[in-house]
Symmetry: D2
Subunit: 303 residues, 4 copies
């Protein structure tokens, strides 16, 4: 199968249609991105790489970074993490606060905001220098220098009242060990990482390879942790659209409001897409379409 | 790998531990089952079969039959089915009615009760003899005679007030075309099918084989429908424990309150387990453990 | 104070403004009422009566009849009624089903639909001929012949799927003793009573007079039951607008989707208003305005 | 009627029974109060005063102070306050956050915490020295020196994560004009006021007297504002027990978790009760009983 041709066809077909969806308005750094940006990077464990469009331009990966934070946290505390955060899909956005209340402060999974805030708290409790240590982990996955974007971080901080509400709720249920402000600070940093499609696809290879970075041979997660993290992305990686993504794309993955999506086929490949305009559920509209088309054309869904 | 030895080890290890969980109390036919029943059937597409325990004894498959009903419905009306039922996990049980209200009468997926009731309505609108035609479809999948259990059907009917509430809600939102009583009748029949582990594992082979019954070579679903149905089972097959099952077992599957669970690895195998006592989420307690152990020992998770 | 002049002024002022709001669409009998109908009847315990407009034309009193049903039920079973229905306001409409679920099948108060369905069930369990006996009670209050409207009853029955959903939910929680269909039948009858403003104001005098019909001197409720029923109307008489009504009008009262509102000042007077067009909360738009203006002009609020 | 005898009888009867209920645990200052404290003060507009027990000992009035804050706010901004806070009862505690979300950041009424936080924000936006100006208003009502309790204030501040969650939610909906921390600070101060039953009963006389402090003859609220505030206390003064209180006591009133309750009969009297142990809804258990007994014995309910 000629993957480059598949990517080319998808890219041009999608480009030829109106660029629907909306840029997120609440963060100035995301609102003023050129909405025509569109890139794909496909990387096989065998070493083959295919790409098209703006695959080397960095963008704000936002919630995709929650996967790194969760990886680091579970690599440190193991299964104990599930005393403080669940593994169930969240139902819809509307429910986030209700569910947190109904389930007594235990977020349904580590990829909804409340869950990622708990993960940030765990990192703070277990690491000497959490913000730096998290970056170190991401660099190990990426095999290169990655930094926090100061402007995005400041924007998140200035407008993050809903996240502050969640953190205070968690604290009221005793599910935050550290100061609310300190935890939020790490959480907002976490959301401020920038990467390109190429870097993302490379960084997620450890999840495609049983927990081992195939380039450095460093074991970042155990095989069992890796399989379970992939399963978790399958059911919880796309907020209220996890079912839709699983249904249409059939690969575990994670999206961010910066318009990025990463997906992977265990033991085969990773694929990263970026297009800034979002559908009403907050996932990249062209990104979802590109991945659906890719697994349809390539027949590479895990189901 | 010696699968028979793996099944033996799982069976004896689980049998040696206390038989926790509860029998469901609301249906007399389920409440008086011998709680020690325990069987497993593992069937590969290659033809290899392994089994242990009560693998040939029939039990009430309950909600597992929703997969057959949905298969038949989507084979008739295609994608249009998603105008009336979604593909998203339902969050928790508590939400079923709220969500139905919040989402204006569109059930989140075809495996929650509200969704299966809509599927029953679609079958009634599109088939001359829906109860019989559904049985015919199931017989094609099973390759043998399958019947409705009259006693279970009567019990469901007599105690199904919550399902009647859901059906009336759906009707009030205009999402039932037929009479509430007629739809409930088919729904209660659907829940009354009995099968053994052996029969279940055989019946689900079409979902493991791109939609084709490998014995009869009959195409029951298209390849694309099959992949998507598997994806749907992955995210929605276990009510409020879909995430847990995906996380621990890593296979698409479906459970029923009769204590049965079916799971499958696309293009490889199907596996059915039966143990009547349920965990608090309504899924077979020993069944979940057996499958978790199986994918751990065999390394056969799709992630 | 010249009450007739006050009524005249209110009537003409309101008539001179656009007739906003909507007729309810789901019941044909309500949808085709002349929306310009507008009547007021004010009756003091002293015997003075004032009226204006269509005060003698009958209309469907709908939920206002729940007050009679509850009066009859509490006169029979006393405080025990509160084991099966609460006395708290319901929050908003959106919550009705959620609350029923959250509070395990105990409706928050007897004036929301679920509560009135439970009241109907209590009447059926305690009366030889509930539909007739209820009518007898209402006739005692009204001092004249009152009947069920057959057409409205049939319409309610044909479209009452949401009420059927509530009844089935109540049954599933064990909070209905009788058959769902039988209970719904009485409930739909209850909603089909027609009265004029004049008849309504007369009928509610027992609640204004310590439980005694001032004309017949018959004791329909005890003093204590009467005070408490008035209190209940104050907090729960207007669905999600009970606070608004209490705030603006300052009298206990009850509304119906037929556009009628009854209110009363204990030991002083009753006042009934009718105007068919409803505000978004389902209460008569002109009726609310007329009563607000009346208590403002007359200074006759209980607060 | 001999009111002193009525109070004596109520006091001794209640004292003779077990002191059920619980002290609130989350604020040390409330948790270590002597649970046997019990006082009542009854004050008529005519000047008659009756009291019994610990009627002159100060306690933390907590949420009762929200009535003063709301009085001050509505006296400044008038009806415009209802663009930012509603007048409907809140349904149950469970819903607080859901409702805030469902109703887009407009709290249902000014007496739930979210509503009082908005009121605090309004005071900050409209007063040069809000904490001091609020105290000045309360002193005008009380006719004497009243102060914030520093220890209670510090405790509230240290444990108020749920209130911080609410404030951040309000801010995320644009319904707070000032900094979250500044608003919370005034809110926590507001909750820290101490008064005795005697002082409370005196302070609430303006609400019993058409808005005018009967001693100083100062108009604190207009007659219309006064009536409406009383109506608001009737429907919203006791969280999820407003219906129960209205039903059993039949007077407008307000409770606080410090075990105090104030109630009033317009144009007649005010009555304050204090007993620290709370029922499961967070209202003084003995206080509720005392007031129910009082309106039963004296027949002084407004209904």
């Amino acid at each position: 199968m000629n993957y480059q041709e598949i990517l080319n066809a998808i890219y041009h077909q999608i480009k030829s249609k109106p660029n629907d969806g909306e840029l997120p308005s609440y963060i100035p750094e995301l609102a003023r991105i050129n909405p025509e940006k569109f890139g794909i990077s496909l990387q096989f464990l065998t070493g083959e790489e295919y790409e098209i469009g703006d695959a080397h331009e960095q963008f704000s990966i936002q919630s995709i970074a929650k996967v790194f934070a969760f990886s680091l946290a579970i690599s440190i505390v193991g299964k104990k993490i599930f005393e403080r955060v669940g593994v169930e899909p969240s139902g819809n956005a509307f429910n986030s606060l209700v569910q947190l209340e109904y389930e007594k402060g235990i977020p349904r999974n580590p990829f909804i905001n409340a869950g990622a805030i708990v993960v940030a708290d765990i990192l703070i409790s277990n690491l000497p220098n959490p913000a730096m240590d998290l970056l170190t982990f991401i660099r190990k996955a990426a095999g290169k220098e990655i930094i926090y974007n100061e402007q995005v971080y400041q924007s998140e901080k200035k407008t993050g009242f809903r996240n502050a509400a969640l953190a205070n709720m968690l604290k009221s249920y005793g599910n935050l060990e550290n100061d609310v402000d300190k935890v939020l600070d790490l959480y907002f940093r976490l959301c401020s990482i920038s990467m390109s499609c190429n870097e993302l696809a490379t960084s997620f290879k450890y999840l495609c390879n049983g927990g081992v970075n195939p380039k450095s041979n460093e074991q970042l997660l155990s095989l069992s942790q890796t399989k379970r993290l992939n399963a978790l992305m399958q059911t919880c990686g796309f907020y209220d659209e996890a079912g839709q993504f699983t249904y249409k794309v059939g690969l575990p993955g994670k999206s961010g409001v910066g318009g990025g999506i990463i997906a992977l086929y265990p033991e085969k490949f990773t694929i990263a897409v970026w297009s800034p305009k979002l559908n009403p559920k907050g996932n990249s509209l062209r990104g979802m379409k590109a991945l659906e088309q890719f697994t349809t054309d390539s027949q590479l869904s895990i189901f």
